[in-house]
Symmetry: D2
Subunit: 178 residues, 4 copies
C-alpha cells in the first residue's frame, strides 16, 4: 500500500472508529508471547499488566487491530514491538493460519469473551520472543509465568474478559496444557 | 444477539458500508463447497457462476462478510444457504480454525488476491454438502468439477482475482492437491 | 490395498506386535467423539468406560493404531465403528491435519501421556456423531458429559494416563474450553 | 529417555528395520526448509539433491523417521542438522500440529505418494533456516529455488514420488502458492 493511502486511512479519528465499531466486526489479533527452553518447548508465557478503563489492574495478552491496508504479518510485528519493545526479537509465524479464532462481543454471555467496545474477530498466534522485552505504551509491566503456574489456576486469578481462555488454547496448541 | 440489535446494525446502508470499506479491513468468509465420495475423500469442488460488475462471467467460491453481532458459524451457514439453497445440507466445521487466511486488497499487487471494493480478511473453510444444491441469489449457476479437473489447470481458466488460489489451498488441506 | 496384502500384514501375531512396540513408535489415533447442538456447537463429549489391565475402571477416548496399508481416514472409521457401533453415523474430518499430535511413552515423566505398552504417536481428531451409539468390543459403557462438566474438573476425576489432556485440547480446538 | 535405552532400541539392525517396515506404518517426518525475506514471507524453498537407489538424481525435501523414545521436536532437529549441517540455525515449530499428514505406500496408486520401502505416515513441517546450510550425509547438494520458480512447474520437473505435492502443500500453508 502506498504511504499516502496509509496516512489517509489507517488512523481513523476516535469518533469514526467508535462509529465503525458499532457497525462491523473488527479484525483483531490475539498474540501470546512465550519463552522457549533450549529444547524448543514453551517454558513461560508473557502477560502484560494493564489498567482497565475502570481503573482496575489486569493481566492480558497482546491485542490490537489490523489497520486498513495492512498485512497480518506486519500487524503482528507492529503490535509485538509496540507492547514488548523494539529489541524483543519475535519469531514470526510461518503461516497466517491461527491456532484459534476468538470472537469477542460487548455482551459476555455470547461467547464468554468480552470486549466492551466492539465485536472483534481475533486471530490467535503464539509468538516466541528471544530478546530483551521492555513493556511500552500503555502496558505497565510484563511478567513471565511458568507453564506449571499457568496450568495451576493462576491465569484465572489475574485475567479478565476471557483472556485466560486464549492462553489455555495457546498452551493446548503448543502441547503445554496439562 | 438480540433481534433488535441485529435489526439496527447488521444491515448498514449502502453508503455507510462503502465508507467503512475504505477505512477498515472487513471480516470475510471464503467457503469452498465440496462433494465427498463414499470413503470421505473430496471428489468434486463446487464453483458458482457469477456476473462481475463489469458484465463478465466468472467462476467463484462462496464469499461474504460476517455481520456485526454474528458468530462465524452462523455466518457460514447463512452464506452457504444463500448461495446453495436451503436443502444443500452442509457439514459444518467442528472448529473455527480456518485452513487459510486470505487477504484481499483493491490493488492486486499486494497479495495477488483482489477485491475492488475493500480490504477483506477472509477465513477459509471447506464445506462438504450432502443435499440438493440450487444456486440462488446472484449466482447464475453451480458446477461441480472433479478433483482431477481442478488439478489440471481448469481453475485458472475460469476464476479471477486469485480465487483459484483459495481452491488450491483447500485442495492441499484436504489432501487432494496433486 | 489388495485384500491379500491386508490379510498377510495387518494382523501381526501378538508376539510380533509386542516386539515391534519395543522398537518403533506406533502410528496411533486419538479420537474424541462429540455431540453437536442445533447450532453446530459442541454440547457433549463422549467417554468410554473401560477396564484397565489392572482391573480398574477408567474413562477414555477412542484410541487405536493404524494398520499397515491402511489409510488414516479408513482407520478412523474402523475405530469409531468398533467402539461406538455401526450406526453411530460419524462425521468424518475433511482433512487428515489433526488438532493435536500426542506422544505417549511407557514412562509418564516424558510428556505426561503414558502408554505402558509402547511409544505411540497419536493423531487427534474430533468426531461428531449423529446416530445411535452402542459401545461394543471391550468398552463397557459410553457416557456423554456436557461441555460444562468437562470444564469443571470432571475429566480429571475419571481419566488416567493423560487422556483428559487430549479432551481439553479437543475442547480448545472447538472453542469449547473455558 | 535414558542413553542406554536409546542405544538399545533406536538403531535397529537393517534386517529388523526391514521386517518392521513390512508390518507396521512408520512414523515419518517431511520437513520443508525455507528462507524468509525481511518481512517474514517465504522467499525460497530448499531442495536436496540425492541419488536414488536406482542411481538417478532427484530433488527432495528432508525426510526421516522418528526413533523409538524420541520426541518429534527432537527428531525434527536431528534430521534438519543431519541434512543441512550443524550451523543451519533452524526455527523450530511452536507446535507439533503439522501443516499436512502425508501417507506414503509402496504402491504409488494408493495416494500418489510412493515409498518403495514402507508405508510411512509423514508429519509435514515448514522449517525456516537462518544460518549457513551445508548439505551433509547422503545429500549431494542443496539448491534454493524461488517461490516464483516453485510455482512455475519447476518442482515437478525435478522431484519424484510425489514430493512436489508436499512442497506445494507447504507453499499453500505459508500463503505462497499461486
Amino acid at each position: 500500500m502506498s504511504a499516502e493511502i496509509e496516512a489517509a486511512t489507517a488512523w481513523l479519528t476516535a469518533s469514526e472508529l467508535q462509529a465503525a465499531r458499532q457497525r462491523l466486526p473488527i479484525v483483531y489479533l490475539n498474540l501470546v508471547p512465550v519463552r522457549l527452553d533450549a529444547n524448543a518447548r514453551v517454558s513461560h508465557v508473557g502477560l502484560l499488566l494493564r489498567a482497565t478503563p475502570d481503573g482496575d489492574l489486569t493481566r492480558s495478552i497482546i491485542t490490537g487491530r489490523v489497520h486498513y491496508g495492512e498485512l497480518i504479518l506486519d500487524a503482528i510485528l507492529r503490535h509485538v514491538e509496540k507492547d514488548l519493545g523494539p529489541v524483543c526479537l519475535p519469531v514470526m509465524p510461518t503461516s497466517t493460519v491461527p491456532f484459534g479464532v476468538f470472537e469477542y462481543f460487548p455482551d459476555a454471555n455470547v461467547t464468554g469473551l468480552r470486549d466492551s467496545r466492539q465485536h472483534a474477530v481475533a486471530l490467535g498466534y503464539v509468538i516466541p520472543v528471544n530478546g530483551d522485552c521492555r513493556p511500552s505504551q500503555e502496558a505497565l509491566d510484563l511478567v513471565w509465568i511458568s507453564v506449571a503456574d499457568a496450568n495451576n489456576g493462576r491465569l484465572d486469578l489475574e485475567m479478565t474478559d476471557g483472556h485466560s481462555r486464549v492462553v489455555r488454547a495457546a498452551l493446548a496448541y503448543t502441547g503445554s496444557l496439562s
